[in-house]
Point group: C2
Chain length 304, copies 2
């Protein structure tokens, strides 16, 4: 059987194709534009972006497979003496046009570290999927979480609750005391331990990857033709501002990428296309906007 | 004569009134909305925002006067053992509607630190004004810098070149290898030394404050009715995305404020109202857009 690393590379490439195809099919108008890029220190990536579709205003679905000497910033960041690394992953952010359809983000990744003699000294998986609605439809939140739980439960029923909480904790705009969205799953540093081998984590991560489309796409299919007003579109653009705030102020991956000369256009592919900031906008008590804010303030267990 | 601290408080309050009045007059339609706020640890502020004017799409002009126990984060940030502090300043960001008119930012501030016995152990002034055009008009850049230089030269002809360079260095989107704009002046930690007393720095900082309106307003007056296309408006919104990137990724004041529970709406008042991010937009060689990028890549000495 092929190396776990090689199998995961095949997996993310296949998943990228599958997700792009499904997005294009549901959109029915726009197609992905592809950019291949090389990383000076080793490896490269395949960035794909779809813009101004009928359903999707902007969708970025990228893979990168990079390796080489451990950059100094990475050593410091990870507090490690590792000498070389290999990292690969798929990362996506999808912004539908219709404010009734939620934005989503997902990524699935593998990291391996080597000593001077090219011996593996550490390896782990990470990833997750999360949902950022502009208007709250409880059934959509429940559907998304139920699909995430179903995929996780195949491996260990302790994982969904743990990674659901990690997602709420991580995707938080602390300066607003608000969640970025209504959560999903977030896992990192999944290493071989007494309960799970690295092969187990491979199986878990690929299953979570496969669960992305069934978690998200049916929600967009249901919401894409729902009517909306200019005020609702305005609200979506304001909330997209919060999305930008999280990604630029708090997201570790984005900041690390920007500070270590990553490919800026691929890193910031995640940012929404049209965004607004107005001063101190207040929502009306009892309004759908206030209802959204309430669940962002206080994360909810959707499956109880 | 009143305490330097009290005189500076009076100065920034008066300057806030003067600038708001001049902005309203030039706008001719919208007026500033004022919010007074208290800081839990001591002091407070006066935030003023004008929105959706005829000339100005968004303008925020705020003063804050805060004091109290040194927050732990501030001690760490400043590597000091000071026990109490006093800080006051005026801060403004102005985003005109017309893409031919530049965005501007300015702030002027004073900081004083005390030991346990309320003895002053350190004190300094800081501030500056800078310009962020969407289209480059050399005469505007020269006017802005000439006014800044004229005000600085009254005190010491070494200051403009030093603070002009500090401005280029500070307002840089390192991840894009671009300046945020075409510069101006930036000064900080201006303390009593062998060349200048603290009173000298008071005089310098207030003169730089007074030079803001003559530096900026004539440029907007000249550009506000210039015609523009949808494509030029699109370019302005894209470039505003860069403004957001600087403020959220690099600006020390913004990040420090967000991380220490400052008033988020007052801190992020600086963000432009309508913003876009599109993937990997390229400019045409020899176009006005390319001409702007060229001077952002390589800061220029406008007064040579």
């Amino acid at each position: 059987m092929a190396d776990l690393k090689d199998r995961f590379v095949d997996f993310i490439r296949g998943l990228q194709d599958e997700i792009c195809q499904a997005i294009e099919e549901l959109d029915g108008l726009a197609t992905f534009q592809e950019d291949l890029w090389d990383r000076p220190g080793g490896g490269g990536g395949r960035s794909r972006v779809l813009s101004n579709g009928k359903v999707f205003e902007k969708a970025g679905v990228s893979t990168s497979i990079v390796h080489g000497e451990m950059p100094e910033a990475l050593k410091k960041n990870m507090k490690t003496e590792g000498s070389k690394f290999f990292a690969c992953g798929i990362s996506l952010v999808i912004h539908p046009e219709n404010p009734m359809a939620p934005t989503t983000h997902a990524n699935f990744r593998f990291f391996e570290m080597y000593d001077k003699n090219d011996t593996i000294i550490d390896a782990w998986f990470g990833g997750g999927s999360d949902l950022t609605p502009y208007y709250l439809f409880e059934e959509d939140a429940i559907h998304f979480h139920a699909e995430q739980k179903k995929a996780a439960d195949k491996h260990d029923s302790a994982l969904y609750p743990r990674f659901k909480k990690a997602c709420d904790d991580y995707f938080r705009n602390h300066h607003r005391d608000e969640g970025r969205g209504i959560g999903g799953t977030f896992f990192d540093y999944c290493k071989a331990n007494e309960n799970h081998s690295l092969e187990d984590w491979y199986n878990f991560t690929t299953d979570m990857g496969k669960s992305f489309l069934p978690s998200y796409l049916p929600i967009v299919a249901k919401r894409k033709d729902q009517s909306y007003t200019d005020d609702q579109r305005y609200w979506q653009e304001l909330r997209r501002g919060r999305y930008v705030e999280f990604n630029l102020v708090h997201d570790r991956g984005t900041l690390f990428g920007l500070r270590t000369n990553g490919r800026t256009e691929s890193i910031l592919m995640s940012l929404p296309p049209r965004v607004r900031w107005d001063y101190n906008v207040q929502v009306e008590e009892g309004s759908p906007e206030a209802e959204l804010i309430a669940v962002l303030k206080e994360p909810k267990n959707w499956l109880n």
